[in-house]
């Protein structure tokens, strides 16, 4: 029975570990993603003043741009090519879209195109994307 218990424990552990997310990150990048998500949570926990949101759009564009720069759909580039995020084509497209959009919103805001209310909404949405990258890494379905 002892052998049987050991076999069951090992098989259960293997079974629990089998589910594999479509977005994987290196240990270092996973830590960065988690840290950025913590900050994003703080930012959307209360309405931020427009000047904070405006500055936040700049840093969010850098964060989301860095995620896309780190991403690849090629497993060899992930293991041997210095890329730190390995993901499906669908997630790669989402990372690209988020990077493109955040960079453009930042530029549009700098050009004075948007009202303070719009800037605050864009800031909240971008923080959701940063949280959603963490959800993707963790394989969680949190509707935001």
């Amino acid at each position: 029975m002892k052998r049987l218990a050991i076999v069951l424990a090992v098989l259960t552990a293997i079974g629990c570990m089998t589910g594999c997310s479509g977005l994987q990150a290196s240990t270092q990048m996973a830590s960065i993603i988690d840290r950025n998500a913590d900050h994003a949570t703080d930012m959307i926990s209360a309405t931020q003043p427009a000047d904070v949101a405006k500055a936040g759009l700049k840093s969010n564009a850098e964060i989301l741009g860095s995620y896309f720069d780190a991403a690849t759909v090629n497993v060899f580039a992930y293991w041997f090519g210095g890329k730190q995020i390995f993901c499906t084509a669908a997630y790669y497209n989402m990372l690209r879209k988020s990077a493109d959009a955040s960079a453009q919103y930042r530029d549009n805001v700098a050009n004075g195109m948007y009202s303070d209310d719009t800037i605050k909404i864009l800031f909240v949405e971008e923080n959701k994307w940063i949280l959603q990258v963490k959800d993707a890494k963790d394989g969680k379905d949190v509707q935001r």
Partner: protein, 107 residues
């Protein structure tokens, strides 16, 4: 020009992209619409997006950002469902393996 004509001018892979941003493109000057088509025809989706997004007014930018959030929601829901399916399949395989192991030791 119509949305359908825009779609016809680019690869079918960009149909959804044209559905989303086509109306804004149709409101652009002819030269800008032509540039949009050229960029998509060359597979430069990011540049085509930037061309449209650089002209987005407040409401359009908000709608665009919210659409991206919804896309993330959909992607993460699909990812979580896929993980659950993988675990279910692995459990089924492991139960077969377990049966074989138990049979081999006479249990």
């Amino acid at each position: 020009m119509t949305i359908q004509e825009l779609k016809d001018a680019v690869s079918p892979a960009y149909a959804a992209f044209v559905d989303q941003y086509g109306p804004a493109v149709l409101a652009m000057a002819v030269s800008e619409s032509a540039a949009f088509i050229s960029l998509l025809a060359a597979g430069k989706e990011s540049e085509a997006y930037k061309l449209v997004a650089s002209k987005m007014k407040d409401a359009e930018a908000v709608a665009d950002a919210q659409a991206i959030t919804e896309s993330w929601n959909a992607a993460n829901a699909g990812n979580a469902a896929s993980i659950a399916l993988q675990k279910k399949a692995a459990t089924a395989v492991l139960s077969v393996v377990l049966s074989l192991v138990l049979a081999s030791v006479g249990l």
